[in-house]
């Protein structure tokens, strides 16, 4: 629809997009309140391979869908002004088309009850992401970043494809009526009908897929580069939706793999390493968008670890909140970039007075980043995690606690550098126009009140997730528990101390180092040398290609030689085997 309308009238196209996205968001939210046990429709699609397209509303998927739809709507509204300067060089139709397609694919993916369908939309959001990152196609950095994101996440997609096909084979062996159904597969796995080695292959596959899509260690290298995309795209894709797909898929398939002893600890380890590593990187980074990207990875690490602790609710709660406040941070950062024209934190500072609205919303976002991460500690303290602790998984726990503290530190560092202190550049700065301001305010309000619904969400999840085990939770108990835990109290004191320190710093001049910081830049630019690590296979592959090309001389004599050698080889092998 959009290319058509866009062709007729640009302005109409934009507002059509906004309207469509808001209607979608409204529908998604209404589904959220109406869906009980899950609505279910199914259409046979490819009779040849027994593929069906099922739509099944599950609790986990619904969260993803709601976040995608709501944040998508706000990001599109925000884009209308943010994207204006670029419209001279790039037609806006493509942007809005891709964004809406992306939101649609994300919602469809989260609701699919067929692994095949899930895979299709999984790839579709990958393609949309690639095209949106490379939106600015005249800059080679944007093109390269798009390519990198696509290819790196493809490594994870291999895992997903292998897992889907393995489960398909397994389901066919037991003669299932609908071999692609996710619910059916979970049932079969719980009933012990799927052999363990197949389940193991599928488990590895799903972890690989999640690691790729959620940009966790060791595939975390694509997300910071993806910051070449327009900022609303970052808010939408790289904070609120696409990266959640990875967490979603492991949360969705979690019951299937509870029989594998190594599966959950692996998730905890991956989550802990990602969370700590990228929290350190975020602390060192000086580009505000890269910083937010690292922070996203870190948060996803927490979510993954929460899933690994079999606490699906914690991960979903974290995801919901993270979706809101990270989108808020991105959009606020976008407003800052929009007016100052720089992404370097050290060139900002003192924007408090010139951009009061952005300042307040950004502060809310940064506080949420620190506080919610801390709150997450509550969930980690549940019985399952204690079980992990007993089994000797203390190291991930320590890493996570460290990461929580670092999160608080980098969140406030970012805030001070941007808004507090003295102005460090001469550019004029002013608050954003209303199309950009409204999403900021809405998201800020959402951030502040969102967590109050915790009890309702828990109850809701408990009813819709048949196979998961969700304990009921009420906000009062949450608060009480939080303040009664020694660990969390310690964290709270740390944060308070840091806030106080920060206030002092901002009064007594800037905390910005004057000396060059080569080593820190090197570490952050290479994503803790992750780029080099992954560059290696590419170099090896190139070398192999060069080696094979040597044999491809184009000389007829050599060609005939190859033919003769091939014949001899085939003959020898045949005679040898026969």
């Amino acid at each position: 629809m959009i290319p058509l309308i866009g062709w007729l009238n640009e302005r109409a196209m934009k507002w059509y997009t906004v309207a469509a996205s808001f209607v979608t968001a409204g529908l998604a939210v209404s589904l959220f309140f109406s869906a009980g046990g899950g609505e279910f429709t199914r259409v046979w699609w490819i009779p040849g391979i027994d593929a069906s397209v099922g739509i099944h509303l599950t609790g986990v998927g619904l969260y993803v869908a709601v976040v995608a739809a709501c944040v998508g709507a706000l990001a599109i509204l925000y884009s209308i002004r943010y994207m204006e300067p670029r419209e001279e060089s790039y037609g806006p139709t493509r942007y809005y088309f891709l964004t809406l397609l992306f939101v649609g694919a994300m919602i469809a993916e989260s609701m699919a009850d067929s692994f095949l369908f899930l895979y299709l939309f999984w790839e579709l959001i990958g393609v949309c992401s690639f095209l949106l990152i490379a939106y600015d196609y005249r800059r080679s950095r944007a093109r390269d970043a798009g390519l990198k994101a696509f290819v790196v996440t493809r490594f994870g997609d291999i895992g997903l494809l292998v897992a889907v096909v393995t489960l398909w084979t397994a389901m066919n062996r037991i003669g299932a009526e609908d071999p692609f159904s996710i619910g059916g597969t979970i049932q079969a796995a719980l009933a012990g009908q799927i052999p363990h080695h197949m389940l193991g292959i599928a488990g590895v596959g799903f972890i690989a897929a999640a690691v790729g899509k959620s940009a966790l260690f060791p595939l975390h290298i694509w997300l910071p580069d993806a910051m070449e995309a327009p900022t609303p795209t970052n808010a939408l894709i790289h904070a609120a939706t696409l990266v959640n797909a990875g967490v979603y898929i492991v949360a969705r398939t979690l019951p299937m793999f509870t029989v594998l002893p190594w599966w959950l600890p692996t998730l905890v380890w991956i989550g802990a390493i990602s969370a700590l590593l990228t929290a350190i990187l975020a602390l060192l980074e000086r580009d505000i968008k890269h910083l937010l990207a690292f922070s996203t990875i870190s948060q996803l690490g927490f979510m993954m670890a929460a899933v690994g602790a079999a606490s699906v609710f914690a991960s979903q709660f974290q995801m919901l909140n993270h979706g809101i406040f990270k989108a808020l941070l991105f959009l606020a950062a976008g407003a800052v970039i929009h007016t100052t024209g720089t992404r370097n934190l050290f060139e900002m500072g003192g924007l408090r007075r010139s951009m009061p609205l952005t300042h307040i919303t950004f502060a809310v976002g940064a506080a949420a980043l620190a506080v919610f991460t801390l709150l997450n500690g509550f969930w980690f303290d549940n019985a399952v995690f204690e079980a992990l602790l007993v089994n000797g998984h203390t190291i991930p726990l320590v890493m996570l606690v460290l990461a929580v503290i670092l999160t608080a530190i980098y969140a406030f560092r970012m805030y001070w550098l941007t808004f507090a202190g003295e102005r460090r550049s001469e550019t004029e700065a002013a608050d954003a126009p209303w199309q950009m301001a409204v999403p900021l305010v809405v998201l800020a309000v959402g951030t502040v009140i969102g967590w109050l619904y915790v009890g309702r969400l828990a109850a809701h999840l408990g009813t819709v997730l048949v196979y998961h085990d969700i304990p009921p939770i009420v906000p009062g108990a949450l608060l009480q528990y939080t303040f009664n835990t020694a660990l969390l109290a310690l964290g709270g004191v740390t944060i308070l101390a840091l806030v106080w320190l920060g206030m002092r710093w901002s009064r007594h001049g800037s905390p910005v180092p004057e000396e060059p910081r080569m080593w820190a830049d090197l570490v952050t630019d290479t994503k803790a040398f992750g780029d080099w690590l992954w560059g290696l296979p590419v170099v090896v592959m190139r070398a192999f290609a060069a080696l094979i090309s040597l044999g491809q001389t184009g000389d007829l004599n050599y060609n005939s030689l190859w033919l003769a050698l091939g014949f001899i080889a085939v003959l020898v092998m045949l005679l040898g085997w026969g």
Partner: protein, 495 residues
């Protein structure tokens, strides 16, 4: 008689095309004659498939082979599958070439195109090894001349001669194999041979014959290390012919090999074929990474895609049980898909070549934005070739991976290798999209390009729509793939 009809129609129309082209020098008229012939044979093939579904065995001569060496044609599902794919692609190429080719030798071009198509259809319908070999050579000879069609330039001639020499060596090897079979059994009838040779299974002679067939027909199929002719030939040929060569001729070589191997009772070749497939896909993909010539890159990618197809077929032959059935199915389906998507990709590259006179990707940079429709088609073809949903290449790959997962063991290893190869291939397909569609337009390019002839754009767009349609609704292709796969499975001994 009906079996012979498509071949006769195409051959006769080929002569007619030559005469008309020579006399009128009109590209549209000659092309239309060729198109009518292709549509006519398509209709006959459709009739054949109808009568085959009713259980009527159609052969020529109708009474079956009487003498031991009598030529015999017989319609079966495999033949109909091959004919359908060949005619489909030939139809698009005929339309495309009406504007793409120069008018000077237009009659010769269409005559050869039709002869080549007739040869491919004949391979599918051939009932004995001798007829199959003759028609295989008919196809080959037509393709040699078509590769070297622009004989004023050096590159096509060199490529054509290379192709000729290597193919002839391969053909002679296959002929030697056929001769050995004949000297043993005194018969060349494909249907009768398995029972005649049943006692000799695993003997050294039979294995030598198998090796001769694999290498001999493998030259045409572009299996590594017999692939060396392909990049030159496919890059230098006129683009329509590149599409035909890549889309159906090498696949016809594969089906020839398959029919010959089935006739001599497989002789334990299964896992060897899988090994060759592994080598083929890696070499094709890795070398394609280094190409800057668009058509040459697609040529190497054809080698890799043959590796995928061969993997499915090899698994089906090697394991010969029902678990490997989706390998056969996926292999044949990939033949159909590859014909459509690679055909489209070559036609697209040809359209760029027609406009800018270069195949160098760096010089083509940004052309996809100057011609948005072709650009979108190019993206579709490249993503389909890389196996990205929702395009057709994805589904055949899923079937191939499924085959690997079903048989387990080495099959699973092959499935992972296939997916790994898909990722490697992504580097060059997406790289090509990045350059050709999104790359910066070079300064020295003229502001206004030649107008794009409608008849060049039409086949490309229709093929792109087909790619999408078959990706969204795979049953469209499985309709003609499944009977053929079923027939092959029965011939191997399962299903």
């Amino acid at each position: 008689m009906e079996v012979l009809l498509p071949i006769v129609v195409l051959g006769g129309a080929g002569l007619l095309c030559y005469v008309i082209g020579r006399l009128s020098l009109s590209r549209s008229l000659t092309g239309c004659v060729a198109l009518v012939a292709i549509l006519g044979s398509g209709h006959v093939v459709y009739q054949l498939s109808e009568s085959l579904d009713e259980g009527i065995v159609v052969g020529w001569p109708a009474t079956g082979p009487e003498l031991p060496l009598q030529s015999y044609l017989r319609a079966d599902h495999l033949g109909i599958f091959l004919a359908a794919v060949a005619l489909l692609l030939a139809g698009f190429v005929a339309v495309y070439s009406m504007r793409y080719m120069h008018r000077r030798n237009i009659g010769k071009f269409y005559a050869l195109l039709l002869t080549m198509t007739a040869g491919i259809i004949g391979i599918g319908f051939a009932g004995d090894l001798f007829t199959m070999f003759v028609l295989f050579e008919v196809m080959s000879i037509a393709s040699f001349i078509l590769v070297a069609f622009e004989r004023e330039e050096w590159e096509p001639v060199e490529a054509g001669v290379k192709y000729l020499v290597i193919s002839t060596v391969g053909g002679l090897m296959a002929l030697l194999g056929i001769a050995i079979v004949y000297s043993y059994t005194g018969s060349l009838d494909l249907a009768a041979l398995p029972s005649l040779l049943a006692g000799d299974a695993g003997s050294a002679q039979l294995l030598t014959v198998a090796a001769l067939f694999i290498v001999g027909f493998g030259v045409k199929t572009a299996l590594v290390p017999m692939h060396t002719w392909l990049p030159d030939a496919h890059a230098a040929a006129p683009s329509g012919i590149s599409a035909m060569l890549s889309g159906i001729v090498i696949e016809a070589g594969l089906i020839t090999m398959l029919k010959a191997l089935l006739a001599i009772g497989l002789a334990n070749t299964g896992l060897l074929l899988v090994l060759i497939a592994l080598l083929t896909m890696f070499v094709g993909n890795l070398v394609a990474l280094r190409q800057s010539d668009l058509k040459r890159m697609f040529a190497y990618s054809s080698i890799a895609q043959m590796g995928y197809i061969f993997m499915g077929v090899g698994l089906a032959l090697g394991y010969s049980n029902i678990a490997a059935f989706s390998g056969m199915r996926g292999g044949l389906y990939h033949i159909l898909n590859h014909a459509i998507m690679k055909g489209g990709a070559f036609l697209c590259a040809g359209a760029f070549l027609y406009l800018l006179g270069t195949r160098d990707m760096r010089k083509l940079a940004g052309i996809g934005r100057s011609l948005p429709i072709l650009g979108v088609c190019f993206v579709i073809f490249a993503l389909a070739l890389a196996g990205t949903p929702p395009f057709n290449g994805f589904f055949s790959k899923v079937l191939l991976v499924r085959a690997g997962a079903d048989v387990g063991g080495w099959g699973l290893f092959m499935a992972v290798m296939l997916i790994l190869n898909s990722v490697i291939s992504l580097f060059y397909y997406v790289g090509a999209i990045n350059t050709v569609v999104f790359g910066p337009i070079p300064d020295n390019r003229p502001k206004r390009l030649k107008p794009m002839p409608f008849l060049i754009a039409l086949p490309i767009v229709v093929l792109a729509v087909l790619v999408l349609a078959m990706g969204v609704y795979p049953d469209l292709g499985l309709m003609i793939v499944d009977p053929a796969a079923q027939q092959l499975a029965t011939m191997i001994g399962f299903g």
